[in-house]
Structure formats: C-alpha cells, structure tokens
Symmetry: C2
Subunit: 355 residues, 2 copies
C-alpha cells in the first residue's frame, strides 16, 4: 500500500529551498511513497523543476496562500491564517488524504493547529513532543521536550505510555523500558510530582525502570525517558551544545599545525564515520505524540539532509502503525487512565508560547 505524506513545503528557516530537494530525494529512494506538497503553487513547481516529469504520478501540489512566520504567536497563526501551508497540510491528515504531516515550521503554531484540527487522543490530556536520540546501548525516546511547561504525575504517566508505544512500534521491542528523569537514583529523590508519577508508572503495567539521571539519556539505560517539557527541552539543547563543543575542539586540534592536519587527513575516514554515526540530521524529526494523527516536526534550521530524515521518520512511523497502536492501547488500558479529572484539557496558549 502506498504511503502518503503531507509536507508543509513553506515551513522552516529555508522553506522550499530545503523541503523540495529533500522531497525529491525521498521520492527517488522510496518508490512506495506519494507526497503532497502544500504551499505557494508557483514557487513549489519552480523548485521541483524538471523532476516533475520523473515523479508526476507520486507528487501532488496543494496550493495555499499563507505562511506561518517562525516567530508568529501560535494564537495569531491559528486564528488568522486558516489558509497557511501548515494548516492545510494538517487538514490533509484529518481528511484521510495523508498518513502523516511533516513541517519544519513554528513549533508552537504546529502544536496549536494540530491539536485543534486533529484533537487529542482519548485518554491523553496533553500531547507531548518526543524525540528519538542516539545512545550507547540503543536509541532512546525522550518526552516531553517542550510542549508543556509543567507536567502533572498523570501527564508523566501518559508520556510513559505514549513513549513506550512509540518505541514498541518503531523498534519491535515487546516491552520498552521506561525511566523518569530525576536527580538521583533513589526513590526519595526529586520533586513530589516525580514521586507521584513514579508511583503511577509502577502500577501502570509498563516496564517501569525507575529514576534515571541526565547521563542515562545517552547511555541508553532505558528505551523511554519521561520528564516535564522544561527539563526535557534544556536537556535536548544541552546535548546539542556539548556535541557542537566537542566537534569544535576536535577540529581545532586537527588544525593546530601542519602535522596535526596530516594526521587529521589520514584518520579522516574514521572521523567521518564517527560524525556520521552521531549526525544530528539523522535524528531530525520530533513527533507530536497524543494527537489523532501523525505530526512530525523537523528542526526549523534543518538542511535538505535533515528534512529528508524527518520524512523518513514519518514514513517509518506510518508503516509501524504508531497512531493506531497507541489508540488501541489507550482503549484497552482505560482503567490506568481512569481519573476523576476531565480527560482533555483545554488548549493553553500560555504553554504554547514557550515553543
């Protein structure tokens, strides 16, 4: 069965300059994929150029007249730009015309619009942003990365369920292990919220590992790490910063002298392999989990390689059946989520402003 992806072609810092080349490469390498590119028709066709003849049967362009600005407030984007490339691309999911949407646009607007159009899954109060990161043992899924400023114990439990189902679908592991990000391994450590969340996770039926610490992220101690969006966002960006610093010092040392440069040239194949293993572009693409539809957020500054990998992630997650797997799980495990509080919270713009 053909996989259809809806692409917000105008989103991101570089718009069509990045999205279109990435789409062309993706079509070339994935013969069972059709893409719907949403945005200004003329601009998109211009960038597709001669490739159109090669992929005309698997490429579709849907015109839209507006673009959500990268710094635009989610409120404004949602209320005033009903014909934005982002919104029209999301609508295609809702209409069943595509299996996932990929956007490099404004995260807050993407979350607000996707939540409004697709609605939150039954049993989930707050969607979360999840990302799969490299680790020594095996990849790790961390959530929330910034959709929620604060997270209640119930939210953290829901993040655990969502992360575990995502990793189950993607890796095939029967029972992915779930840890909660804390500042010590002992049960007595951390905030009250974390202690309560741990108690919920323990009896959730998930493969709950317990507390993990910051260095467990890239160690790969567990398959899924749950945390509030503030902490997760800081940890994610900290990882980017450390990797950049180490890369900087490696380059600096190999440029220090002619001899060092020669050594660098000799070991280049190996250094390139290391770089390739850890290439952040290969891990580009966060999932907005908890919505009735697959929404993939590419890094706003991603290049064509990065955006290609965001498309690839969407493709894999459609094939893995992430959304139906999670929906089914939530229906079957209703009792875990049974609580007196209302199931679905209202969209809170104050949270989305942080994205």
């Amino acid at each position: 069965m053909a996989v259809v992806l809806s692409v917000d072609a105008m989103g991101g810092d570089h718009g069509v300059n990045v999205t279109v080349p990435a789409c062309i490469r993706f079509l070339k390498e994935h013969l069972d994929v059709s893409l719907i590119l949403v945005g200004d028709r003329d601009t998109i066709y211009k960038h597709i150029g001669d490739n159109l003849s090669l992929y005309s049967d698997r490429i579709d362009v849907v015109h839209s007249t507006e673009v959500v600005g990268m710094d635009e407030s989610p409120q404004a984007a949602m209320r005033n730009k009903k014909d934005s490339s982002m919104r029209v691309a999301i609508n295609l999911i809702k209409q069943g015309k595509a299996g996932a949407v990929v956007s490099a646009g404004n995260t807050g607007a993407l979350m607000a619009i996707a939540r409004y159009v697709l609605r939150t899954m039954d049993g989930i109060e707050r969607p979360a942003i999840a990302k799969i990161l490299p680790a020594i043992k095996s990849d790790v899924c961390v959530l929330d990365l910034g959709a929620n400023l604060e997270s209640s114990p119930e939210h953290l439990l829901q993040f655990g369920i969502m992360g575990a189902q995502l990793m189950k679908a993607v890796t095939g592991k029967a029972a992915p292990s779930v840890g909660i990000l804390n500042i010590g391994s002992e049960d007595i450590k951390g905030h009250e919220e974390i202690k309560k969340a741990s108690a919920l996770l323990k009896t959730s039926g998930l493969n709950f590992y317990g507390n993990v610490e910051g260095d467990d992220i890239n160690k790969g101690t567990v398959d899924v790490i749950v945390c509030d969006g503030f902490t997760g966002n800081v940890a994610l960006k900290t990882i980017e910063g450390v990797a950049r610093m180490i890369g900087f010092f490696i380059r600096q040392e190999f440029n220090r002298s002619i001899l060092a440069k020669i050594m660098g040239l000799i070991s280049l194949p190996v250094l390139k392999r290391v770089k390739n293993t850890l290439d952040h572009r290969k891990y580009n693409g966060a999932v907005l989990l908890g919505l009735n539809g697959l929404v993939i957020k590419s890094h706003g500054g991603a290049d064509a390689v990065g955006f290609y990998y965001a498309l690839k992630q969407a493709y894999h997650e459609i094939n893995a059946g992430v959304i139906t797997m999670l929906q089914d799980y939530l229906v079957k495990h209703k009792e875990i989520l049974n609580r007196e509080e209302p199931r679905k919270e209202l969209l809170e713009f104050k949270d989305l402003n942080m994205l």
Copy 2:
C-alpha cells in the same frame, strides 16, 4: 603567605587511596601550600609513607574517628557523626586554621554540615552548588547544580550575584555576564519564576544578558548561568553523558579494523590533546557558594588526578579571595537584596536528600 587547605581524607568512593596521592602531588607542585589531612591518623600516615620526610613541615594530620557514608542521610551524618573527617575538616575553616576545605564525600552531608558550621552569608538565603565548565568561548559557571530542588526568583538573583563574583575573582573579568537558563530566548518564554527572576536580575546592577538555552552552556554565551538545582543537575549530568557517548563512538570506530587502529595510532597525539582539553577531571570540583568559608566538593568517584584538580581549584579560589569579595559585595549591595522575607531560611533536609 602560605595557603592552608583542609582535606577530608576519608571522603569519596576511594578515600585515602585517592586523596593522599593527590595531596602529595599537590604539595610537590605548590610550594606555598600546607595541607591538613583529616581522618584516621594511622591510615593516613600509612598512605603518606616515605613522602612524610619530604613534606613534614607542610603536612599536618588531624585525627577523627568517624566517616560519613556516601549513602548516609545528611541528617544522620550531621546529628550522629560529630567526629567525622568531613565535619572536623570543616571545623578547621571555622576555626581559621585553613582557607578552604576539600571533600569528595557525600554532597548532601557536606552541604548540611558546612551550612550548620559555617552559616550562610548575610544576604544569601540558600547556598548553591556551582561548577565551572568548559565552553567554546570561555569557561562558564553554572549554578545551582542540585543544592535546591526549587528556586524562587530571589534565590536565582542571589545565584547570579554569587556566580558573577566567583567568575570575577577567578577570571579577572570586571563584569561577568549572567544568563538565566530557559527554553527560548524571548522574554515571554518560561515559568513565572524565571520571568520574575529576570526582572530582578535586570535591575540588579549585574551584567545581565537575559535568557540562555541548553546549548548556550557549552557555547559559552555568558560567563554565568543561573538555574534551579533540578534543571542544573540534569544539565550537568547530561553533559557528562554526551561526552562519554561521543568518546565511546570515537573509540569504537578506531577499533573497528586494523586499518582504523593504525589511523588511530597515527592521530593519537591530536586525539589525546582533544581529550586533555576536555578532560572532566580538570574541571573536577564544585563550590558550595554562599557560606562563610570556601567548601569545594570533589566528585565522589574522582581519581587522584581529579582530586588534585579539586585541590587546585580551592587553592586558586583562596588566592582570588572569593569569599571576602563576595561578602564585601553583599554588604555594599544590600539594597538589591532588601526584601521583607527573612534573609536566611532554615536548613531543609528535604532538599538535601536529593544530593
């Protein structure tokens, strides 16, 4: 003038096996230093061995009968172990016999005892744990790293003052820049507490930069980054984890084949220089800032090289006059800290349990 350091010789995962060799090396390389080693006299002398004859005029051993366990609760350590090596070593500061204490022992106990013995500085409500980390631009001081689970805007302001004075003393910069760790650069981002803290920092007279994000830590965007202890602790450990993962993948790739091994051997001098630049042992030693005395916490698992650098940090910070500089600043800038709430909060063991 001779510098005197008080050393908790029994503290840390490896006790005297690490502390004594580090002390011997330190005495050898710093001729103006005297050390007071606190702990079991016989054990310490046994480990000093023949070196005693070389340094007998600059080495002193103070006997104590107890040791604080690495997992012991701060309460128990403080109430029941009045003759622990940690406590006796701290007492030497209070008595004016040493300019700083260095311990690799239990962080929570160290904070509890140091706070009880030395008291918090006037104007400071909560001491913080600060660490100087490597960054692309220049070293950065991050605090709090785990002394406080949550931090009020006033606490964050105080952290900013403490961090700036520390960096001023250590680097000689006239007005170190101060950033607040957040999840976006715009003023509207983040918790209410952070917004309030930003407002306080803006009018504090400090060189306030504004919001910084996780990746600014190792970029070195600012000289000082303030955050609550939970976030700081997660960020610090995340940094350790990323560095370890990258080291792991570099070793793995250079061990993949005989050719790769040869390439690794050829570029070894450069790789070693990179490793040396970023050697976490050279950055070992966190400062418990805000106490009337200089307390340096070495990583519990540090080896002799790491502990040596913790001693070196203590030595530099004594010479830089960190404590008096900060005390003077607080007296001169009383008005910034003038608030209705009580100046000094009670010691809260619930917070120390997290350390």
